[in-house]
Amino acid sequence: MVTYLWLKEIRAQVYTWKGTLWLVITSLLFSFTSYLLLTDKELSLLDQTELLWLLSKVIISVAFLIVAIDSSSIINSEFEKETAESLFLSPISIKDFVFGKLLASLTLWFAIFMVATPYIVVTSLGTHLALPFLGYVLFLGTVGISGTVILFFGVSFLYRSAKNTLTTSLIVLLAFSVPALFSSALKNNGLAQMFGRINPLENIFACLDNVLVDYRLSLSENWRYLWPLFIFCVAAFVFLIFSLNKFQKQGVVKSV
């Protein structure tokens, strides 16, 4: 059941141009960034590892943004286009529904990762960091994006409105991204440090810095950045369960 829903979503992404456009835009962004990094007179003279770290940040940020926008509407579109009722009249459980949609959102992330792979390989030439780069971006991206998608699904079931969910999602993403703009002095502030510990995006970037720039490749060396990500995923899942309970009490159609 989950598989059929997942495949339906993939086909919808392709045939409605949504997914295809995202991937083409992503590819253009990565092309521009990698070319800029490697040919610009000043930036190309960065340490190659710093260059890889920059590229990894771009890949993760773009993926987070695209998947956030997609996951904000993937559930709400069923309610807004009134296809949810027909779907839930069939033998589909809410669990199948959510897992199917989750797989579809993660597939979009994997597609973005596949598009990013050649860029990762070409910018890593000569550093022996291609595999760790690929591995860690895939691993961290999957964990981080899973948690984020689950969180936004929870928001979707609460709001049942794509517009409101998207607005909330973008605000949350902005909150995750803003610390990156802080100066060193602000980053040392206690509150900023506390937020940094729980911010999934910041932990991902810090982990990639640790791997690519400081060459600490083992999971144990990066555990302090990984456990907050897992906690974030668990917290998002708990929020989703809460939202689903409320959704099931209200019913598929909120009111006549």
Binding site: K81, E82, S86, S90, G251, V252, V256
Partner: protein
């Protein structure tokens, strides 16, 4: 006959507004059951509770032995044409039915034949490869019915199935429903088209302001509401040939058109049959005879206080 749908004390409120108030229904297997009521009466809420779309606040629902908690089992035996008419516009009709066929567990090798047959039944066979987004409202309606029948349901719930269809389309759908009912499918029809309901349904329930006002066959409804049947007779001939005693005092309306006379006759069906026999004896040609189905309209308006 077995009871296939049993509803006891069903209630639902939306923010202190009682949408459905302690409804009891019993529907036998193979029945063609009509469910009518004015706008906002609670018809759609009732259907949604019966089909598991919204949870009831209280009450008991049994669908062919399954409780409402056994949603998956119920979903396999029912087909629903719901009020909301959403479709995946990017899919073709064939893909849409194929998707639902797969969800219902219909084997892949059986799907094409099954889908083609259904599309033919609803008149969409030559549009099966077109995107649903290009369909008219009526075509989407037909597709909705095809989807409701995809799993060969035992119970069919229909919420305004002929809304938006032209008269030919309405007739086609009605004929299809009659055929399915003859095959043993229990049909639960909610419609504003009272003639359609009274023509098709063996039993009718009228709901207003969340409460079940009355239920029964047309005759039972008439008896309970004390309304008499009305029949329409169109004859060719001279009324002078017909004596008063032939007609009695049950004529309520007469119209004359050259040599054709139309009149409305209110009375028992036995008396109508006698009238027809007498007219035939007098060699009066009967061009048309049928019951006036707006009788249900009268009952409906009478009971829902809109008259």
């Amino acid at each position: 006959m077995n009871t296939i749908i049993s509803v006891k004390n069903l209630s639902k409120s939306y923010q202190q507004v009682k949408a459905v108030d302690r409804i009891d229904l019993t529907i036998e297997q193979g029945e063609f059951f009509g469910f009518v009521g004015p706008n906002g009466a609670g018809k759609t809420s009732t259907i949604r509770m019966l089909t598991g779309i919204i949870p009831p606040d209280q009450g008991e629902i049994l669908m062919d032995g399954f409780t409402i908690d056994e949603r998956k089992e119920i979903a396999r035996i029912i087909g629903v044409v719901p009020e909301s008419r959403g479709f995946y516009d990017w899919m073709t009709a064939f893909e849409y039915l194929q998707f639902f066929s797969t969800i219902y567990g219909i084997k892949k090798f059986l799907q094409p034949e099954n889908i083609q047959w259904l599309l033919d039944q609803v008149g969409l066979l030559n549009r099966q490869a077109h995107k649903i987004g290009t369909y008219s409202r009526g075509m989407k309606q037909r597709l909705g019915l095809a989807r409701a029948l995809i799993n060969n349901p035992r119970i069919l719930f229909l919420d305004e199935p002929t809304l938006g269809l032209d008269p030919q389309g309405q007739e086609d759908i009605q004929n299809l429903l009659i055929e399915f009912n003859r095959k043993g499918v229990t049909i639960f029809l909610s419609s504003h088209l009272l003639p359609e309901v009274s023509d098709l349904c063996s039993r009718i329930a009228i709901i207003d302001k969340g409460k079940l006002i009355i239920q029964g066959s047309m005759d039972e409804l008439r008896q309970k509401t004390n309304l008499k049947s009305t029949y329409y007779l169109k004859i060719k001939g001279d009324l002078k040939e017909i004596e008063d005693q032939d007609l009695g005092n049950q004529i309520i309306e007469i119209k004359r058109y050259s040599d054709i006379i139309e009149f409305l006759y209110e009375g028992d069906i036995k008396n109508v049959n006698s009238l027809i026999d007498r007219l035939r004896f007098k060699r009066i040609q009967i061009l048309e005879f049928h019951s006036k189905s707006d009788n249900l309209t009268n009952i409906f308006l009478n009971l829902t206080s809109r008259q």
